[in-house]
Symmetry: C2
Subunit: 169 residues, 2 copies
């Protein structure tokens, strides 16, 4: 069950990549420094776009690494440009493709420990961690990235966010 | 499998209700007309807070009604106050509690048709509809509600959004 949900993370990160492509094109067309967009935020004490993208990646890679008992790639969190953010998403998706279904077998019942902020460590059972922590966090940071872009006049729509859904003809 | 995911919708709508409680208290403390917050939006062509809450409810009630082959309650979409929005969330959660697991048995493979905007009807298989449409849409509108509140200075944090996660001691 948990192994099949990797595709939800890959689909969403791929959609996030598409949103950033549109944002980069919008900056160019409107003659805006792209760093204005990657450093934009919705409130002074919220994370900027670049950090939202970084965390979307981390939720996915660190989550499946914990569930699968494998090492996740470490990133330095230094991305500021759209190209750098796209590279991070691509590396994260590569990692997700590398996670073996066998390593996730039985992880529904595994107890997972993970940091929440700089000082707290939380524990959840694997299936709850996936459904009540990883997925809501993935969507939280991806939707916040979307909202930052919409707030800054980038022409993206909800179908960009939902892209990759298996529609029937 | 689909039946167990009802709890993800109830948990998230309950968290959304908590966000609105904090927003109402914030409006009162800051002497802001609550309607300023319920009509706030992040971009002129995005939905306001009240509509984000209405859609969060609709994704849940209409989604499980389609999957379960049962009738969902109809709402008039006239809510403007926090009390009215809270009532809509409560009615939605009541409906979700009423959906019988038996009615959802086998719905993973059922083909579901649903409107996407005023003119389009889309089709998906039940399990994809849940994971690639209902859940991303639920989180989309709840996170956008959160972002509207944060953008307007309401003191909510991510743990309000994640509230109800089954943390182990």
């Amino acid at each position: 069950m948990i192994a099949t949900s990797i595709s939800d993370f890959i689909r969403t990160l791929t959609a996030l990549s598409g949103l950033l492509d549109k944002a980069a094109a919008s900056a160019q067309a409107r003659k805006i420094d792209p760093l204005v967009l990657t450093s934009a935020r919705l409130a002074p004490d919220m994370f900027a776009l670049a950090r939202q993208v970084q965390i979307s990646c981390d939720v996915a890679k660190n989550g499946f690494a914990r569930l699968g008992g494998v090492d996740a790639p470490k990133f330095e969190d230094t991305e500021t440009t759209f190209a750098e953010l796209q590279a991070r998403i691509a590396k994260t998706i590569d990692f997700l493709h590398s996670v073996k279904a066998e390593s996730l077998a039985g992880s529904e019942d595994k107890v997972v420990s993970f940091p929440a902020g700089p000082e707290r460590v939380l524990k959840m059972k694997g299936d709850a961690y996936l459904k009540q922590w990883m997925l809501p966090n993935l969507y939280f940071h991806t939707v916040t990235a979307y909202n930052i872009l919409r707030h800054n006049g980038v022409d993206v729509g909800k179908m960009d966010y939902l892209k990759g859904a298996d529609l029937l003809p």
